[in-house]
């Protein structure tokens, strides 16, 4: 009975499936093939350039090629790589973050394998399916988001329908101060202006230690139609920059306090590789 019902289901369902245009899939496949070839070519250019620079140093020649900028070597089609299901490829590739920032572009480079792009950033888990249920899995996470709102109340609502949010405005310092007031976060380092990612930013450090009574994660940030949750315990470094388009971009790095040092180093490398290419130039 069961087997026959399965077969009947499969037979009926097969008739109901609408096939797409094969030409569309072929086009996407060819794009993917070109993209891979382009990335390989870009990596080859980098190797060649690196070799050239080394050779020029060996010969004490100070008139070598100018330093490479991302624009010189990065394939423009790279933005297709960053869907929510991609694993960032390790190595010298740089990526073009989706154009939610208008003319502003952000470049970053995967520092190793195992970094999963989840829509608004990348996350790497220290262990895979080995942590007992109910225990937090050590992680490092990188978030990049056009920041619009921060949590103001009821942070433990899993659907966030009853949560309260407040706008961050368009001033990076004010936004950083508001982050320091998010329920459940403890201010560790007060907002401070500095330079990072090639632009002026305001940095703030916070810690998340307070679990929700229902064991859900805590709503923290909102932007680009996404709610960013935090899983306690976590330590957060947040940088906020104002873009030429007028909006704010938040780059955040958070990690479980017990995550291995090598993971934190990779997170730092990911941050170091990040460059905001402000469209104002």
């Amino acid at each position: 009975m069961s087997e026959q019902r399965l077969k009947d289901f499969a037979s009926e369902a097969e008739h109901l499936v609408q096939a797409p245009e094969l030409d569309d899939l072929v086009g996407r496949g060819r794009d993917l093939r070109r993209l891979r070839l382009t990335v390989v070519a870009a990596a080859a250019v980098l190797v060649t350039v690196a070799g050239g620079i080394l050779a020029s140093v060996d010969h004490d020649d100070q008139t070598g090629p100018p330093a490479q900028t991302p624009d010189d070597v990065v394939p423009r089609a790279g933005k297709q790589l960053l869907t929510a299901d991609e694993e960032l490829e390790a190595g010298e590739q740089r990526f073009y973050v989706p154009s939610v920032f208008g003319d502003d572009r952000v470049w970053l480079r995967a520092p190793g394998s195992g970094w999963e792009w989840w829509g608004e950033g990348a996350v790497k888990w220290q262990s895979d399916d080995t942590v007992p249920a109910g225990q937090a899995e050590p992680y490092v996470r990188y978030t990049i988001l056009p920041l619009e709102q921060v949590m103001a109340g009821r942070p433990c609502d899993p659907s966030h329908a009853n949560s309260r949010w407040k706008d961050v405005g368009d001033d990076p310092t004010t936004a950083a101060e508001k982050i320091g007031t998010i329920p459940g976060l403890r201010l560790v380092q007060a907002p401070e202006r500095t330079e990072r990612f090639g632009v002026q930013v305001v940095h703030v450090g916070v810690a998340l230690r307070t679990p929700c009574p229902n064991k859900s994660d805590r709503n923290l940030f909102m932007g680009n139609g996404s709610v960013i949750w935090g899983s306690p315990p976590g330590d957060y470094d947040v940088w906020i920059a104002k873009l030429s388009s007028g909006g704010l971009v938040m780059i955040a790095a958070d990690h479980h306090p017990d995550v291995a040092k090598s993971y934190r180093e990779q997170l730092e490398a990911l941050l170091d590789s990040t460059r905001i290419d402000d469209g104002a130039d």
Binding site: S2, E3, D85, W118, D128, E137, N219
Partner: protein
């Protein structure tokens, strides 16, 4: 150039590859979607996975067309994509809010009880049921696709069948092979 001469011209390799791909697409696309529908419990996700498998087949070029069994190649790619996505989504859902209801094929109302019964199974059992009973793979082949031991496949099959039998009725066949 006359038509006769034209007809004797060797067909371009690209055309031959295109024809071969079209044959696979027309013969396997719908079947693969249904199998992945059973695996994922979501028709849209299934279509997405199978389409992505075809995209990767095109990108793979000769490697795909030289495969002994192109449909098996596509199925394995789609399954791997799903398992990768599912694992990531499980992690990802802990840090980013996301609500998605599983979606069904329009017009399949008569069989929705079958789909729901499949959805009620743990993912591991759903995979082996779909691959063994819908894709007609042997236990050995299922184990190869999923990268696990045959004994694991058999035990998942048994648990999955037992659970389905409570909803859909008893199983007729006895052998796993």
């Amino acid at each position: 150039m006359s038509e006769e001469i034209l007809s004797r011209q060797p067909r371009r390799v690209a055309d031959q590859q295109s024809d071969a791909l079209r044959d696979v697409f027309e013969g396997s696309y719908r079947r693969l979607v249904v199998q992945l529908y059973a695996v994922t419990g979501d028709s849209v996700e299934a279509e997405d996975l199978v389409q992505e498998a075809f995209v990767r087949a095109v990108a793979a070029g000769h490697r795909f067309l030289r495969a002994d069994n192109p449909e098996a190649w596509l199925r394995t790619v789609a399954i791997n994509l799903h398992r990768n996505r599912w694992r990531k989504l499980r992690n990802y859902s802990r840090i980013r809010h996301r609500i998605e209801e599983p979606r069904d094929l329009a017009g399949l109302e008569e069989h929705v009880v079958v789909v729901n019964a499949l959805r009620s199974l743990p993912a591991e059992q759903r995979e082996v049921i779909a691959l063994h009973h819908l894709a007609d793979l042997s236990v050995t082949e299922v184990a190869e696709v999923l990268g696990c031991k045959e004994g694991t496949v058999k035990s998942r099959l048994k648990r999955g069948r037992d659970a389905l039998a409570k909803v859909l009725g008893p199983w007729e066949g006895g052998s796993d092979e």
